[in-house]
């Protein structure tokens, strides 16, 4: 009930603006909103405590905190690892629009006689509210990887039953041990994307390859950076040869110094790159890779590249929840998504590469030959996923970010 207040309503309106500019993809834009989940969930006991009696106020949150992992376990008890557990008759998916190919759902329904119901959301905030603390009525959804550790610790995401996921062998080598979920214990990667540099070739006549182009004084007042501290520091740190997830304050200071140099050249720090690019204000900018499709509707030859120094990648995962009403069907469905044909069908629909190595031969050649969607292994090796950093590290970054923006 008190879930949406303060900034969130404004951000929702911002979302509306985004629809006005004809977009459909980038949800990295919404990442920052996820913060609300932890906070909103935590606010409930406080309100309860405030309205009933003062004494329990401190007890509720503190007792909940450390014991989450242990105490939430009971309902999660994953389906018994019998050879062939029969699925329940239904499966509820909470999904982005256009994020799953119809054929993939239909083939699952036919094969297992399960009625699949899809519900949709348009912001990650909305997804996390619907999932709540145990998944609500949903069996499957697609949390962003950076949020997975928190959701696992809170006991929201259920452990996977690997015995029911034979197709997991299809995953590419680089996805065997992702930083956010070592060993894919709780989640399976679904799709991944990059953050890089986009530019209008009518304005930028050469073909830049480095993120240093964003520091080029020739484009002064026509350069944009994302309004997202982790992305901006990530790009800068990688350019300086450091990790995008650096925890070294000296490296952060170096990055800040470089960003301070850039600031006079910057037109705006904004996540609405579709708006700023199509308005002619920005010629070259730090953008979420998927946003280029929307920009290309206005600027057909709009170009995008992953900086040669390396870049930031992000990914969505597939997860099932501790309160999932149909746990067996959920595991079967995750296995279904890991099938090479199905993974390829989804990639062909949404133009994101999946982590599925076996799927490559079934993917549309046009997608495979696009180095910005399917970069060479040499570049893939240089991509770094943003991790969920420790509080103290995040605070170090945020205070530098606010210093830069002030």
């Amino acid at each position: 009930m008190t879930d949406r207040h303060d900034g969130s309503s404004i951000d929702l309106e911002k979302e509306l603006v985004r629809y006005m500019v004809e977009h459909r993809i980038s949800r990295r834009y919404l990442l920052e909103r996820i913060a609300l989940v932890g906070g909103a969930a935590a606010l409930a006991p406080i309100i309860a405590a405030c309205t009933s009696s003062g004494g329990s106020a401190s007890a509720a949150p503190s007792s909940a905190a450390p014991s989450v992992a242990a105490s939430v376990a009971p309902p999660s008890a994953s389906p018994s690892p019998t050879a062939q557990p029969s699925p329940e008759g239904a499966l509820n998916i909470l999904n982005w629009t256009d994020y799953l190919a119809d054929d993939v759902i239909k083939s699952f329904e036919d094969q297992f006689s399960v009625k699949v119901t899809q519900s949709f959301f348009s912001t990650t905030d909305e997804m996390y509210q619907k999932i709540g603390e145990d998944g609500g009525d949903y069996d499957i959804s697609f949390p962003i990887s950076v949020d997975v550790p928190n959701m696992v610790e809170r006991g929201v995401i259920a452990k996977l039953d690997k015995s029911m996921l034979p197709n997991i062998v299809n995953l590419g080598q680089e996805w065997a041990n992702p930083g956010y979920d070592p060993g894919n214990t709780y989640t399976v990667p679904y799709m991944w994307w990059t953050t890089g540099v986009g530019y209008d070739p009518k304005r930028i006549k050469e073909e830049p390859t480095s993120s240093k182009a964003l520091w080029d004084a020739r484009w002064k007042q026509h350069i944009s950076m994302l309004d997202d501290w982790q992305e901006v520091f990530g790009l800068t740190l990688i350019q300086q040869g450091h990790s995008a997830n650096s925890t070294n304050t000296a490296e952060m200071d170096q990055a800040l110094a470089l960003l301070e140099q850039q600031k006079p050249l910057v037109r705006t720090y904004s996540t609405d790159t579709i708006g700023t690019m199509t308005s002619g204000d920005v010629w070259i900018g730090h953008i979420w890779g998927a946003d280029r499709f929307a920009i290309q509707e206005t600027i057909p030859d709009f170009a995008y590249y992953i900086p040669e120094e390396g870049g930031v990648k992000g990914s969505d995962t597939v997860a099932t929840f501790t309160g999932s009403p149909h746990p067996v069907a959920a595991q079967l469905f995750i296995n279904h998504l890991l099938d090479a044909h199905n993974s390829a069908a989804n990639t062909n629909l949404i133009y994101y590469m999946g982590p599925n190595a076996a799927a490559k031969e079934f993917i549309d050649p046009a997608i495979l030959s696009d180095p910005t969607i399917n970069p060479d292994q040499e570049i893939v090796d240089k991509l770094e996923e943003l991790l969920r950093l420790d509080q103290s590290v995040r605070d170090e970054y945020l205070s530098r970010w606010q210093q830069l923006r002030g």
Binding site: E13, L43, S58, R267, T268, G275, S279, Q402
Partner: protein, 305 residues
């Protein structure tokens, strides 16, 4: 709610039965006030208390709010010098917006009141008309006007006044234009009310005593409409100080406001208690500033008489 009813009952107990009509009137007044008080308590006092309570807490490892060790640490952090530039930005934008809104709004309100005739109501409705559209969409239309390939730049180039687009978006100018546009109706309405209530005979009397039109305005109209000016200034300045959307949408690298910092602490920083503390400090500063300004103004107005 209870607080509003109690005084009426308490006084009823002490007054003789003969005073029944007065008692009923008082109860009726209390009943009329109830929705307003209830509204304030529910949507102002309770959230304010909630923010205060949260601001005393801290985050657990999973970024949830915990009140296990309540302290004032967040308030100590809230006076971080990193917030000075953004706070000054907020003050600057709010001040300029208020001055412009009064300068533009007063003549409009005056004109509507004096020369609006039977169209007064229609004209006031026109002033409020923009409220029928979302503030965000209206702000966004400023982008369409001001961007490099926007309406203004296209016109300038079409008339051969400029060859290249001039940068209007993401500047102080765009923020001030957007904010003044957005807050102007808040200034016009109270100004109109106070100007419209002014008895024209008073101005006529001034003129009869050989005041020039200018003198009559300065010594009669302006002082008598001062309450409207103060109300308009407050109604513009306070929300402008906390404005986050306009600088965020229309601004550039140098236009970050304190409200944006607070939003970042909540969302990007996932530190609700710290954000709550900074928000609370800002609220206290605004409230204190307003009270001081009001008192000074009242004294000046009183002294002027």
């Amino acid at each position: 709610m209870g607080a509003a009813v109690q005084p009426a009952e308490a006084s009823a107990a002490s007054t003789p039965v003969a005073d029944a009509p007065g008692r009923i009137a008082r109860l009726r007044a209390a009943a009329l006030v109830l929705p307003g008080v209830g509204w304030l308590v529910l949507f102002f006092i309770v959230p304010l208390l909630l923010i205060f309570v949260v601001s005393l807490g801290s985050r657990d490892a999973l970024d949830r709010i915990t009140l296990a060790n309540p302290s004032l640490d967040n308030y100590a952090k809230a006076f971080d010098p990193v917030f000075i530039p953004t706070f000054l930005n907020s003050i600057r934008f709010a001040t300029i917006t208020t001055i412009l809104s009064l300068a533009i709004g007063y003549p409009i309100a005056y004109w509507i009141s004096r020369y609006g005739g039977r169209h007064k109501v229609l004209l006031i409705i026109l002033v409020m008309l923009p409220f029928w559209t979302s503030y965000l969409i209206r702000t966004y239309s400023w982008i369409i006007l001001l961007r490099d390939n926007g309406v203004v730049n296209s016109l300038l180039q079409a008339f051969g006044l400029t060859s290249e687009p001039i940068i209007l978006m993401n500047t102080d100018l765009s923020v001030i234009l957007g904010m003044t546009y957005g807050f102007l109706p808040f200034a016009i309405l109270p100004l109109f009310v106070s100007i419209d209530r002014l008895d024209p005979n008073l101005i006529a009397a001034g003129r009869d005593l050989y005041a020039s039109g200018r003198d009559a305005f300065l010594h009669v109209t302006l002082p008598l409409t001062m309450p409207g000016i103060v109300a308009a200034a407050l109604l513009t300045f306070i929300p402008a100080l906390g404005d986050f959307v306009t600088p965020d949408l229309l601004g550039g690298p140098g236009t970050t406001t304190i409200a944006k910092n607070i939003q970042e602490l909540f969302l990007a920083g996932r530190d609700w208690p710290y954000g709550a503390a900074l928000g609370f400090v800002l609220m206290i500063v605004t409230l204190t500033g307003t009270l001081v300004a009001l008192r000074t103004l009242r004294r000046e107005v009183a002294g002027g008489d």
